[in-house]
């Protein structure tokens, strides 16, 4: 993968991902955080494409951007009035947080680059894997698949139950 274009594009998306993630974390405004998260998700999706996981990338976009992010925005709007000053959120545990952030990132990176334990396989994933995903889902992973569907259903009902208006509470 020494194609320079490829490298450049990778770094571009990597940068988008990392910086938008940093913005998510460090900005005080919740709305900004949410929108910044959008970019993070897109960046990550792009990285997925680099990893030959095009289907996952599409799913990432559909689910995270189309679903989760919208949910988060709704959450923000439910809990704060739109464009309110109260949208700013305080920071807590700032010192241990920062130390740990630095420490953990540093430690992980140190580990990655000092240990030479990674031994990539001769054959890497190439091309589209949509067909294989379909095949795997219906064969090896049919039980987890089914269970996930049940989980989703449960989550749906659970969420609806939890978030419903409590009429009698009035």
């Amino acid at each position: 993968m020494s194609n320079p274009t490829y490298t450049v594009i990778f770094y571009l998306f990597a940068a988008i991902t990392v910086f938008s993630a940093a913005f998510v974390v460090f900005t005080r405004n919740v709305i900004y955080s949410a929108f910044s998260l959008l970019f993070t998700f897109f960046g990550v999706a792009a990285l997925y494409v680099f990893l030959s996981a095009d289907f996952i990338a599409v799913t990432q976009v559909v689910v995270y951007v189309g679903g989760i992010l919208v949910l988060l925005l709704f959450g923000v709007m439910f809990t704060n009035g739109i464009m309110q000053t109260g949208q700013k959120s305080e920071v807590f545990h700032i010192i241990p947080g920062t130390v740990l952030l630095a420490g953990i990132i540093g430690a992980l990176l140190y580990t990655f680059y000092t240990s030479h334990g990674w031994m990539p396989s001769e054959t890497t994933l190439q091309g589209s894997i949509v067909e294989r995903i379909g095949f795997e889902t219906m064969s090896h992973y049919v039980l987890p698949f089914e269970m996930v569907s049940i989980l989703l259903l449960a989550a749906l009902i659970g969420a609806a139950f939890l978030a419903r208006f409590d009429k009698s509470g009035k």
């Binding site: 998510v24 974390v25 990893l51 923000v76 990132i105 990674w118 990539p120 995903i133 795997e136 989703l152």
Partner: protein
């Protein structure tokens, strides 16, 4: 320099580590419950990157499948978590996590 130009496994892992760090930081420090949730999403994305990266360089489908499931579960988690947050808001009239300390008693 070669290490920088030839994109390999470590690049992805690095991005993943950074995302994890940011996610953890958000979970640890931010007071707004929504932002805490966003941190969780970051962590999940970091994990997904790891799955897919290892899957690619190992040549198997396991990571891919797990990533898929993680996404699905993340969706469920988000729905539930937001419902909980809304409930917290109903009860405490606030989404400030630091002010919710009824677990102490």
């Amino acid at each position: 320099m070669e290490q920088l130009t030839t994109i390999g496994l470590n690049h992805y892992l690095t991005i993943s580590a950074i995302l994890l760090g940011f996610g953890l930081f958000a979970v640890m420090t931010r007071k707004n419950a929504i932002v805490v949730l966003m941190g969780v999403e970051l962590i999940l994305n970091a994990a997904n990157i790891n799955f897919l990266a290892f899957s690619k360089y190992n040549g198997g489908m396991e990571g891919v499948m797990f990533a898929l499931f993680v996404i699905v579960i993340a969706a469920a988690e988000a729905a539930i978590a937001l419902a909980i947050v809304i409930n917290i808001f109903k009860i405490f009239k606030s989404v400030d996590v630091s002010s919710i300390d009824s677990m102490k008693e």
